[in-house]
Amino acid sequence: MAQPSSCAQSSNGVADESPNMLVYRKMEDIIARMQDEKNGIPIRTVKSFLSKIPSVFSGSDIVQWMQKNLNIEDQVEALHLGTLMAAHGYFFPISDHVLTLKEDGTFYRFQTPYFWPSNCWEPENTDYAVYLCKRTMQNKARLELADLCAESLARLQRAFARKWEFIFMQAEAQAKVDKKRDKIERKILDSQERAFWDVHRPVPGCVNTTEADIKKSSRMKQPHKTRKSVYGLQNDIRSHSPTHTVTPEVKEPTEDELHDQIQHCQEQLDRHRLKMSKVAESLLSFAEQYLEYDPFFTTPEPSNPWISDDVTSWELEACKEAGQQRVKRWAFCFDEVMKDPVGREQFLKFLESEFSSENLRFWLAVQELKKRPIREVPTRVQEIWEEFLAPGAPSAINVDSRSYDKTTQNIKDPGRYAFQDAQEHIYKLMKSDSYSRFIRSSAYQELLQAKKKVQPQNRPRHTHASLC
């Protein structure tokens, strides 16, 4: 039994950290390599018109580095991975709110570790309000989607009407601190802050990569751990989120549970294990046998309805007559005959010719019983008993004594599964006895040889892996 190893989990299986952490760590490993002085991406300052653009690298630089250092030959894959990392905010285009990677001269910058998603940010709207307010003060019209920010700001002003003076003061204080910074430093920090908000408040049309699956987030033990203010503001009392319900504590195993565990381990130890070579062989031969029935490899006859807009394949499947390919499958194993309604019908016909159809009729009756509404069950159980198992039954079946005794007991308090043991025994009987005779029978052989019913053109069946 595997114990949780590397992930930060307490032994009772409850997560202590954000569900996305595994991914962040992998990305940060790559970022560290990208930022390596010797072998990383070359970062430079670019002269542009009257100013300098500090600390940037191009999209092509990133793609080339990835292809060289990450074992990625395919450009599409490099762009996909790079876009994923940009969408999480690890590097960003300096002139765009949309966080994707383009393989061209577009300039990108690294995000500062303070703003990395692994710091478990879940910035509140108060922080966002401070940010937008600060922006308007600093007149950063250049890079802004002005309408959008103005709209967001207006909305937040309404929501935080009473706190607005406080927010305004915070924004002023932040702006003051910014002013004191060196011009180049300000440019860099400014863009990094903007990229942070692009991750947490994505522009319309962009994905919010910080979202977590509700199944995972509802397991987190301490949701308040992830709620810090970006600007050091005091947190409000968060209202109870519907996704943060308390999960039951899994206790340390009790003595009884340990006994159960030991018993389970003992049973596991005692089980017979098949050799890997045998198992591998069986998997391979199964896949090969069914390859001609796998529409992803072999075009179904006459066509795949999804591609050709012709539903003949489905009509054939539903009809009473089975084509050669379908009949061939019945010989693979007994389950194939029993799964196919036409197969069952043919098998029944064969058994009738042998005067041994009671086994299959019993099996079918029991299957049908399981679908009955509960009020009809007792009567039906009695009917089945009378027909197949009672002394002097007209269609007497042969069950082993153990199953017979159990069934006798069961029918005293009749439920849907009264005949379960008997049914399983009969199934095995048909499988080991009648089935092989059916496959060898002339009736089956004839079906197998029968001319294909649908043959519009005599098109050979072909196998190809890519279906376009």
Partner: protein, 339 residues
């Protein structure tokens, strides 16, 4: 040594013995055996249909037959689609919008769903007046409902965040069997082709095989380094495929009682959310958090194709019972049919 300490030691040493017994049958790996077999050629699937209608993230999809499927979304709706015509056959409003799973009964008569309400709600699609109504609300779990699968019109199995799986009698609404043993939230379940057993994957990083009739855990498989989000049977019923947050999928064989192979790539960092084998089992289609679906050659463990077309996480995937097409569902609110 205290009694408890002794018991714990005994359990540990048995586990070591099991590991040794598994090693003892490793005469050949799957990779060795298929060394002579060629990898399947590049698989390029095209989107044949896009099902539009949900207004929010799709969390689950399940095929009923070759054309009908049901999907569940955070917009609080269950939609039954005729995927071939892209028509919505039913749009069922749910009481709770925090739905995580849905299932179609093999008979086509019912669908089920559940989520943060800790309940499995069964809907009758073939009601007398044509309206779809809640038939049963199966309540007893103390955690969220992560997955549910019908055995027939009377029985359904559910997996829950309370670390258990349950077999229910739908008509009486009662729990028939509780399958307890996982040490973490159960995230997913799959029923064997013969309906005698089922498998569950959980946040304790293990997968378990259960006997439906007697409620016993028959086998436990480990090896993953994080939550198992997705699980399914290989079509022959003798092997199990799992998908995990550790960005890998694994194939475990039931008869040799161990892992056969891992499907992973250094370029894939995001977790696996869902998976489905093709009809023959030769291909495994797996949905990931990085918005793509990767297609693996199940025997050679090589990636042979990618489905990219969604603008957000692929949360669910399913192959039709006849193997003709697969459906992916995403947080981008769309379902796509591919082949």
């Amino acid at each position: 040594m205290g009694e408890m300490e002794q018991l714990r030691k005994e359990a540990e040493s048995l586990k070591d013995e099991i590991t040794a017994a598994r090693k003892a049958v490793q005469d050949l790996t799957l990779q060795d055996h298929v060394a002579g077999t060629a990898v399947v050629g590049r698989v390029q699937l095209k989107t044949r249909k896009t099902l539009r209608g949900h207004l929010s993230k799709i969390y689950a999809v399940h095929w009923g037959d070759s054309k009908l499927c049901v999907s569940a979304s955070q917009d609080g709706k269950l939609i039954v689609w005729d995927s071939y015509t892209t028509n919505k056959v039913h749009a069922i409003p749910l009481k709770s919008s925090w739905v995580m799973t849905c299932a179609y009964a093999p008979s086509g008569n019912m669908v089920a769903c559940g989520g943060l309400d800790n309940m499995c709600s069964i809907y009758n699609l073939k009601g007398k007046d044509g309206n779809v109504k809640v038939m049963r609300e199966l309540a007893a779990h103390t955690g969220y409902l992560s997955c549910c699968r019908f055995l027939n019109d009377n029985e359904i199995i559910t997996s829950s965040g309370d670390c258990t799986c349950v077999l229910w009698d739908i008509e009486t609404g009662s729990q028939k069997t509780v399958f307890a043993g996982h040490l973490g939230d159960c995230m997913s379940l799959g029923v064997a082709p013969d309906f005698n057993t089922f498998i569950s994957g959980a946040c304790d990083f293990t997968a378990k095989l259960w006997d439906i009739r007697d409620g016993q855990c028959r086998q436990t498989f480990g090896g993953h380094e994080s939550d198992i989000n997705a699980i399914g049977f290989f079509p022959n019923g003798n092997a199990v495929i799992t998908g995990s947050d550790d960005a890998s999928c694994k194939l475990y064989d039931l008869r040799s009682d161990q892992e056969l192979i891992t499907y992973q790539d250094s370029g894939i960092m995001c977790g696996v959310t869902s998976l489905a084998p093709s009809f023959s089992g030769r291909l495994i289609l797996a949905g990931y958090d990085d918005f793509n679906c990767n297609i693996w050659d199940s025997l050679k463990a090589e990636r042979v194709g990618v489905l990219s077309g969604h603008d957000n996480r692929v949360s669910c995937i399913g192959v039709t019972p006849d193997g003709m097409a697969c459906c992916t569902g995403s947080w981008d609110s769309f379902l796509k049919i591919w082949n």
